[in-house]
Amino acid sequence: MIVVGWLDEFMWGSLVVLQIFFLALIMAVTWGLLGAAAKLSSNRAAKLTATVFTTIFRGTPELLVLLIIYFGSAITLTSIAQFFDPEVKFVDIPPLWAGSFAVSLIIGAYATETFRGAFQGVDPGTVEAARSLGISSTKTFFYVRLPQMWRLALPGFGNHMLSLVKDTALVSVIGLEEILFTADIATSVTIQPFTMYMVAALIYLGFTTVIMYGVRLMEKRANRHLEGGR
């Protein structure tokens, strides 16, 4: 089997995918929560900012967002660096970070809408009850709103996580040696595109299967308080 010789490369590629996944996931959840909070707030500037954010990042092709963020930041950084030292040729944000950041913005924009809908599904009476007990609004958010919202957000958010894993494949275009990049290289050496791309696809399928299973467990846990209801 010719694949065996490439297994360690694929493994390193998988590690890169995992790194991007977790970095982008943390950032995407943050953007999503901030975006949802902004959209639901009564502050018009916050609302407008969130709307611009979701419009841009849901409305442009993901590959373009990635390229614009990577090269945009590189050009900006390079010109700043050249201002201080004209000898500098090229400065960029490490592709891992640029890629994770770009993907997180896209997924964060979708998550904003999912979280917004989920927050709206939380019974406002429970929030009033918490406030009437003297619980501060910040603590009410973390102990009453968030745990209830999470259950409603999970099905949609599970989809976002799957998109996120698959979007990591895009990051190969800015030179990050992830799974697709490895498959490209392997193909150019072995001239066996079908085999190599199948390996890449199977690895992705492995990741997404684990995520789907994980989401199912989380949903079960999040719904446990509804069991045996009357």
């Binding site: 009437s132 009453v144 209830q148 259950r151 308080h225 509804l226």
Partner: protein
């Protein structure tokens, strides 16, 4: 401002409240003294709920003054949390936290507001669950409880903060008839222990047996406020008479 025994624990002075153009409260005046039980009744939309929601500032009033326990309710946030932790509130729809067990519902505020340890909070919670006669339901989630049990958990949850005052906003209106008495029993016990209470309710039996003062509201105004005996036997205003005949006739 100094608080003396003679001062009312709750004082509403010329309180106005608007929802857009609609005036929900019109120059409402009410004084409640420590240990008093006040029953508020009136047709729906008369401003009963709005009034008690203003007392713990779930709604903010637009005119007049509200003093609770010597603290004036205004836009200062610190005051509001202080007032809220002294004023328990029970809602028509129970409003239990669905993601927490009964005992978890009771433990949340003591832990977050009173900074009790988990063990202390649990001990307090179990004490109050016993007081509302459902310690055996401690580890159940709200959906697994009947309406009457849920409302008793909600009462216990408010009591865990050891409030000076309890507000009840139609606590039995969402209950099946056979469960009303178990909630009223708990409320009567609470009244007998000397709790200061304001109850919005149409349970006139409760008003007769427990209330010191019966308040009738209509169209955002307090029409009549009297001890229950006088209120039921000798209502002064036509509107009160009409309302009483409607709810007592069947």
């Amino acid at each position: 401002m100094a608080q003396t025994e003679q001062d009312p624990i709750i004082r509403l002075k010329n309180v106005d409240k608007f929802f857009g153009d609609f005036q929900a409260l019109k120059k409402v005046n009410l004084e409640v003294f420590k240990g008093q039980k006040v029953v508020v009744c009136g047709p729906s939309g008369s401003g009963k709920s709005t009034m008690i929601r203003c007392i713990n500032r779930l709604e903010s009033h637009d005119g007049g003054r509200i003093l609770v326990n010597g603290i004036e309710l205004n836009d200062s946030l610190r005051n509001i949390d202080a007032v809220r932790s002294e004023v328990g509130m029970v809602f028509q729809q129970f409003n239990l936290f669905p993601h927490l067990t009964a005992v978890g519902n009771l433990m949340l505020a003591p832990r977050l507001v009173r900074k009790k340890s988990k063990a202390e909070a649990r001990e307090i919670a179990m004490r109050y669950l016993e007081r509302v006669h459902i310690p055996e339901q401690a580890d159940k989630y709200p959906v697994q409880l009947s309406g009457g049990q849920q409302q008793r958990v909600a009462i216990a949850r408010a009591l865990c903060m050891n409030p000076e005052i309890m507000l009840f906003d139609e606590p039995t209106s969402a209950l099946d008839p056979e469960m009303i008495h178990e909630v009223l029993d708990v409320m009567v016990e609470l009244a007998n222990e000397g709790m200061t209470m304001i109850c919005v309710t149409h349970e006139m039996g409760f008003a007769r047996s427990v209330a010191d003062l019966t308040v009738f509201m209509d169209a955002g105004e307090i029409v009549e406020a009297k001890p229950p005996q006088e209120f039921f036997e000798n209502p002064e205003h036509e509107r009160t008479r009409l309302f009483l005949s409607q709810i007592l006739s069947h």
